[in-house]
Amino acid sequence: MSHTIFGKDAYNMNFAMLMILTVIEVGAVAASVQEIITSQMIIFVLVSIGIVKFLGIAFIFMHLRMEEDSNILTMTALFPVFFIGIMIAVIALTSPASPDSLPAWCRFW
């Protein structure tokens, strides 16, 4: 079954969008290196484009939208988000020195 976006083939449209966004991404970094845009701006640009590209691949190429079983598979794909949230909260945002205070049985040395 072939799906469309704005009357065009969904795969082709998604592919074109991904290519254009990647060009913008690389161009934005070049602008950042030349100090044309600030470091805060480059973080915003990279995160925004990353999210859009992520969703484009997941929804169109991986069929998390537009198929009969899309909803339940989207829920399956979202399941680890809970654990990822815990991981980021507990590991990613803690102090780098935290492992030093772990009991010996948790460590290899």
Binding site: S2, Y11, F15, L18, M19, T22, E25, V26, G27, V29, A30, A31, V33, Q34, I36, I42, I43, L46, V47, I49, G50, K53, F54, I57, A58, F61, M62, H63, D69, I72, L73, M75, T76, A77, F79, P80, F83, I84, M87, I88, I91, A92, L93, T94, S95, P96, F108, W109
Partner: protein, 361 residues
């Protein structure tokens, strides 16, 4: 599809089959493969360890037999899996019978569960990256602060501070600026990573085109097989390009016409470098003698794990291209390409996050 009505299924020494009664496709293979991976990783972790001072790797051949046993168990698990499925060549799709996946192709559910476990693997790597990136002071900030940490402690040569890979790849470190994008200079060192990003996106597209073509009933079998083979071969070529450029970026560097870039190793961005002379920007002759192990190991483990997944995909792609060449795909068994495609898009998806996080910022 009423495949069950048309085919007799007998008990098999390769695993419990009960397809004729509508039961899911039970198999011991995943448990055997999981066991094998556990043994393999246990042996692998014991084979390479850090020394007392944590500045070098110790190789211990004593654990090599465990590695080989683990590898053999993994292979036997895959052999059983392959043997169970090969007779159907993807024409038969057992449906899941339990809530919440009732009536969804069970292999599709399996692939998604597998991908979510993969998501957890990469999440650990990203968590580690975020934690160290946020928690370790950047070398540039310390240099700007006259070789002093933000808490006032003076920086001692050999102390750890953070130099992101992007400093070498997309930062002001590069001396070669031959590529111009509408007036913007683009470091040559960024070229392999940028090409790789486009290569993976194009390869995702060629996989969906292979799937779309394999499902087309208006094409005759020969033309369909030829087109599917070509799309899969193109994907394989792009994956090979990806890993080749990765090797060039890490180990070799390049010097082609006006384009020149040293490798990351040549630049000293290694997991063993405890004395990198970081000059930063705007400080003349001033520099820090920085310990790079933290930032370099975070970069190499994350991007290396992704590269290993690309390699795994290449192995599968080689088989699928050969199968397509032999005319093995038709509209009724094209789902095999879809399931591989899910894995491949996931690899692309991870790169979409890895590229900006590790290469650009």
């Amino acid at each position: 599809m009423s495949y069950d009505d048309d085919h007799e299924h007998h008990g098999s020494p390769w695993g419990p089959h009960d397809w004729s009664h509508g039961a899911p496709h039970n198999s011991w293979a995943p448990i055997i493969v999981s066991l094998g991976i556990g043994v393999f990783l246990f042996g692998f972790a014991s084979t390479f360890a850090m020394n007392e001072t944590m500045d070098n790797t110790i190789y211990s051949a004593g654990s090599l037999p465990i590695v080989l046993v683990g590898f053999a168990i993994i292979l036997s698990g895959f052999l059983i899996w392959w043997r169970q499925d090969i007779s159907f060549e993807g024409h038969y799709e057992p449906k899941s019978s339990g809530v919440p996946f009732k009536n969804i192709d069970i292999r599709k559910v399996g692939i998604w569960v597998f991908l979510m476990s993969e998501m957890m693997v990469f999440s650990t790597l990203f968590s580690t990256y975020i934690r160290y990136r946020i928690g370790t002071e950047s070398c540039q900030a310390i240099l700007d602060n006259h070789s002093t940490f933000s808490n006032g402690v003076p920086f001692t040569p050999g102390d750890a501070c953070w130099i992101p890979a992007s400093y070498f790849i997309a930062g002001s470190h590069s001396e070669s600026w031959t590529i111009s994008l509408g007036g913007f200079g683009l470091p040559d060192t960024l070229v392999p990573g940028a090409i790789n990003t486009f290569a993976l996106i194009i390869s995702s597209f060629t996989v969906v085109m292979a799937l779309q073509t394999a499902k087309r009933e208006d094409l005759d079998a020969d033309e369909r097989s030829r087109k599917v083979r070509n799309y899969l071969a193109a994907t394989l070529v792009l994956a090979t390009l990806f890993l080749t450029l990765k090797m060039i970026e890490w180990f070799i560097g390049f010097n082609i016409g006006p384009f020149h870039a040293p490798s990351l190793m040549e630049d000293g961005y290694t997991i063993h470098n405890t004395a990198y002379p970081f000059a930063g920007s705007g400080h003349g002759e001033e520099h820090l003698t920085a310990n790079l192990r933290l930032s370099a190991s975070t970069f190499y483990v994350a991007t290396g794990t992704h590269g290993a997944h690309v390699f795994g995909g290449m192995v599968a792609l080689s088989y699928m291209t050969f199968k397509a060449h032999k005319g093995g795909y038709s509209p009724s068994n094209a789902v095999s390409i879809e399931y591989f495609g899910l894995y491949w898009h996931f690899v692309d998806l991870v790169w979409v996050l890895v590229f900006p996080a590790f290469y650009l910022y």
